[in-house]
Amino acid sequence: MIQLEHISAGYGGPLVVQDVSLDLKAGEVLVLLGPNGCGKSTLLKVIAGLQPPAGGQVLVDGQPAARLTRRQLAQKVTYLPQSRSVPNITAYRMVLHGRFPYLSYPRRYRPEDHAAARRALEQADAWELARLPVQTLSGGQRQKVYLAMALAQDTQTILMDEPTTYLDIQHQLDLLAFSQALAREGRAVVLVLHDLCLALRFAHRGAVMEEGRLLQTGTPEELFSSGILAETFRTPLNRIRTEGGWRYYYD
């Protein structure tokens, strides 16, 4: 699906991401973990083609991403940035824009795009919001609309940067459960999350970064057992077994 080979990246000064190699797998929720400024968001932007790598390459379906046009890449990778403009348009229109990578000139949406937008809104449980202006929606409702937009883009890989920011706990749980549902459909879902406990609960695999370098990847159990998380975050981490599986918490 997507392979990162020795990726380095930065913004003109010191490298923010250094020599990261990682595979994004279909059917998996991968969470990038690490302290602030460790390069998680930059790595996500490199995968989405928003930030050119200073070294290494991204392979998409075995093909170097650099050889793909921006439109071809947009048909393979969806990226939800942390901060977004909220234009005065309906939720439906916003979701419809997710079909833009599939439009040829003169960029008018076709019946199949409308059908895809409707399906996406229904899947994200947001069809009842379709007629409402996005600006009038709550944070949780907006997130549903953004997710629907991502679904309408219909790509095999979905990248989300801090998707739970500003959401209350119920909406955070809903969003992460939805990410798992997307993975079950065979997509690769990559999340940047700050809430370590939620990340470990919902991720199939985690990638721990520090100062731009990838320290370790593994299942939540493997990462916890190795002690890398407590070491990287400099905070003791504990867990407790419940009926639903392991739950992680700080002392």
């Binding site: 048909q75 990778v77 229109r93 409707r118 009842e128 202006p133």
Partner: protein, 340 residues
């Protein structure tokens, strides 16, 4: 789950009706503009005058050589400035950005005065010079935005500084070449008296081509409005598109400045009102701005002629007197005074 009509596209507002209403208002304002003034002209004479059947009469002369060029100039300049403002605000994602605020109009004005000083006989060069000046202004502001990641307020202030520098250039040129501008007051404030069709025609083609290109790029503008990163991730080539859009906005503003002078407020007020009326989908927004700008400028110009008839004041004064308080009221009403 609530059921919605499956066949229809959920829309924010009845856009078609708003556009039809604006078209009607614009036509009405154009009719009033031709008929009213220091001398009343009956609407029934207009078709005959347009067909050249009144060429020997006073009414025919008034329509053909005074009212018609002036009304066409108002419609053209109003539409051009309003659409230019909407595009600049959209590209810079800044509601304070308007051609007169961020130095686009004054950049065009500087080049118009320079062109008039160096080539006083060349009417056709003026729109080109105006475009170059406007584009220079818009590029400077874009450069500031790109390099510094400036906030909305900082960007607007930088635009004001750029605008003042260009304005100082205009003053300096007029000092050295006093004959460069026929009526300096009209040019600085914005005025449409003494217009002739041969001054409007070159600008008309610039505006027409720019509008057609902008309408053809409205789909891309919709995506750009979602923010730079989202737009890029949807496959949009953001940087080249921003440049093209700003060049078209500069061409529109430059074309208006080339014959109407430094008109303010149209490019700021109209996009704000239309955005709240038809929403932010680019195609209806551009059309609504074109109609709204044309209508507003024509009505303000009419007021400038009839308020103190037979004397008239430059339309820029009416625009500022009407537009300034209205805009302050709008800001206070919508956002509790915050610029969002």
């Amino acid at each position: 789950m609530k059921s919605l009509r499956t066949s229809s596209t959920p829309e924010l507002r009845p856009v078609g009706r708003v556009l039809a209403g604006l078209l009607l208002l614009t036509l009405l304002s154009a009719l009033l503009s031709i008929c009213l003034g220091s001398t009343f002209v009956s609407p029934s004479l207009i078709p005959q005058a347009l067909l050249g059947q009144l060429s020997g009469t006073v009414e025919g002369q008034i329509i053909q050589f005074v009212r018609l060029p002036r009304t066409c100039g108002c419609l053209l300049a109003g539409a051009a400035l309003a659409v230019s403002g909407a595009v600049i605000q959209s590209v810079l994602n800044n509601p304070l950005a308007a051609p007169n605020i961020i130095g686009v109009n004054s950049g065009a004005g500087l080049m118009v005065v320079l062109c008039s000083a160096l080539f006083p006989q060349s009417v056709t060069l003026t729109p080109l010079a105006a475009f170059l000046g406007a584009f220079l202004g818009v590029l400077l502001v874009l450069l500031i935005a790109e390099r510094t990641g400036a906030s909305r307020i900082t960007l607007a202030l930088a635009g004001v500084a750029v605008s003042n520098i260009f304005s100082a250039g205009i003053d300096a040129l007029v000092t050295f070449f006093p004959d460069a501008v026929l009526s300096y007051t009209d040019f600085r404030i914005g005025g449409l008296s003494n217009l002739s069709m041969d001054r409007i025609v070159p600008a008309f083609w610039v505006v027409l081509v720019s509008l057609i290109l902008l309408i053809s790029l409205s789909g891309e503008m919709d995506i750009l409005a979602l923010g730079r990163e989202t737009a890029q991730s949807l496959g949009l080539p953001v940087k080249p598109l921003r440049l093209v859009l700003l060049a078209l906005a500069a061409a529109l503003a430059g074309a208006a400045v080339s014959f109407a002078g430094l008109l303010g407020f149209v490019g700021l007020i109209v996009p704000h009102i239309m955005r709240r009326t038809v929403g932010e989908d680019s195609l209806p927004l551009l059309l609504a701005c074109a109609l709204g700008g044309a209508c507003l400028l024509t009505l303000c110009d009419l007021l400038s002629r009839v308020l103190f008839a037979p004397y008239e004041i430059p339309v820029g004064i009416v625009l500022s007197l009407a537009g300034g308080p209205f805009f302050i009221w709008l800001l206070l009403r919508q956002r509790g005074g915050r610029i969002s």
